[in-house]
Symmetry: C2
Subunit: 319 residues, 2 copies
């Protein structure tokens, strides 16, 4: 099969790759669409030392599942953390924090920028029939937005979402639907056009005093700015992983008794339910579709700082 | 009266100062003992730009309280945040986060390194009769330890307290008494002698995996180390305000979904109750007693890095 391979320095190439064979408990999935995410851009920048096939946002069709024949032929999306199955975390059902986990296309496991991938069947979620593939491919980032609801109470809270990339936009919509008073802070007003169209306040500046601030800028300046905008005893939900190595003064966290909640992957089920109901239609954020062979153009489009809407770019691996 | 004055550069001198007159709603307190705290050392280092009379840990006797005559003659300790009384925070009873608050000996209000001080009567707490002054003078840091119980569940949790200065020691004792499994991480084993004597495990090294880590080292390395020691989805309770300006990588907060809870001042009532029951006897940490005139020697003793036990130094303002 054809796949994109990356080396630890971030060099990418299109290559012929053996079709992966499912290990016991795994299924093989034919990838229909795969999304390019900021993490993939970081892999490409050589930040994470991954070698193999990147890609972790996908929708596809199960072609082989020796232990779960009912899955064959189903359209699925997949959780990206494959736990060891034996540790305390895994036994509690939380493979997302298993220290021996592999992570699809990110750590120790080939990913979705390929015609086929394998994952444990426990990671797979059948996509409800009414959900088109271009919506389903957002299941992983949408689940990450729903994770916030697992961690903090948001109803009636005044929440500022910083950043309106794909994740920030999904967070804003998920939080608002749950009853939060959401405002989205952007750098350029064009970026928030889709949110503004749907009645979500989009602002270029904000004053201090939000109950919660969701930091989803993907920028190292995001966290210090969030500290300036949250109220005393408020909560910052930290989504960006790139706030690395910058000098940072944590004294305001103590003085203002701010709570900082790290928030990563989340539950797929509520995301798929919201897709099925039509509450979330993130496919409108798709800004480019490329075959695998055009991965250079796809990555250039995904990482284009001149795209104010920071739209989602998807790869179409199939022939 | 005599008082220690400090200027924004941290220069201190003993001076004659007018006896403060209580504003409406305030009381005047004759200071019996005043503790020197790390914050005072930071004031002296010129970090906080305060000018006036420093000192915020005290026990004393009410000499004048025009609006609350019952208080006169009572031995009291005092909360250090004096709110505006009008804002939402103050009306909720939380003057600790009032944006217009003054803070005794720290911001906008003269403090306890003086023969007399004034505070709103709402900040004062009568000391139960059985509590000696040398114990009562620890009410403010003990309240800060009890604040953790207001913020997180600690019963049966595996908790690492980093640092066994006065605050770390108080936190360890308060958490253990609440049913936590407490271990204290120290740099030198002598530092934890009092804790070890009372059966609290004191260690020089620790492995990752604690449910909660209380960062009370007062050192900028404390927070990054806490991130290495807390388990995924665990909680760091941040007490040190000095973690300033260091390059810091917050990505592990997100990847491991760690919660960071800033924790500052706390409730005096449970601290005084614990003092009255004899559950907490922090007076054993007092390592030096100095008259105001010997403030240079007192500050030298309080900041002495060669004192492995980092004992509490108290000033005795009275003649």
């Amino acid at each position: 099969m054809r796949a994109i391979e990356i080396d630890p320095a971030g060099r990418m190439r299109l290559a012929d790759h053996p079709v992966p064979r499912p290990a016991p408990g795994e299924a093989r999935v034919k990838v229909e669409l795969a999304g390019i995410c900021s993490t993939d851009l970081e892999l490409r920048a050589g930040y994470m030392g991954f070698s193999g096939i990147p890609g972790h946002e996908f929708v596809g069709c199960v072609e082989e599942a020796p232990d779960s024949p009912d899955l064959v032929g189903r359209t699925v999306v997949g959780e990206i953390n494959a736990g060891c199955g034996r540790c305390d975390d895994c036994r509690r059902g939380d493979s997302r924090h298993c220290t021996d986990r592999t992570v699809l296309g990110i750590a120790g496991r080939d990913g979705a920028f390929a015609e086929q991938l394998t994952l444990p069947v426990g990671c797979l979620h059948p996509v409800p029939g009414a959900v088109p593939p271009e919506r389903a491919v957002f299941a992983e980032p949408a689940a990450a937005a729903f994770q916030i609801l697992e961690q903090v109470e948001v109803e009636d809270r005044r929440i500022l979402v910083m950043g309106c990339g794909k994740l920030g936009s999904l967070c804003a919509r998920v939080l608002r639907r749950k009853g939060a008073q959401v405002t989205v802070l952007v750098r350029r007003s064009e970026s928030g056009a889709l949110l503004a169209r749907d009645g979500i306040p989009v602002v270029l500046n904000a004053d201090r005093g939000f109950d919660q601030v969701v930091e989803a800028t993907g920028h190292p300046d995001g966290f210090p700015r969030a500290l300036e905008l949250v109220r005393p005893r408020g909560t910052i939900i930290l989504k960006s992983t790139c706030a690395s190595g910058r000098p940072l003064n944590l004294a305001p966290v103590v003085v203002d008794e701010v709570t900082v909640v790290g928030s990563r992957c989340g539950p797929f089920r509520p995301a798929l339910d919201a897709f099925a109901r039509g509450d979330l239609k993130p496919e409108e954020m798709i800004g480019g579709r490329f075959p695998l062979a055009d991965f250079e153009a796809a990555f250039a489009a995904a990482g284009n700082p001149a795209d104010p809407a920071r739209r989602k770019v998807v790869l179409i691996p199939g022939p």
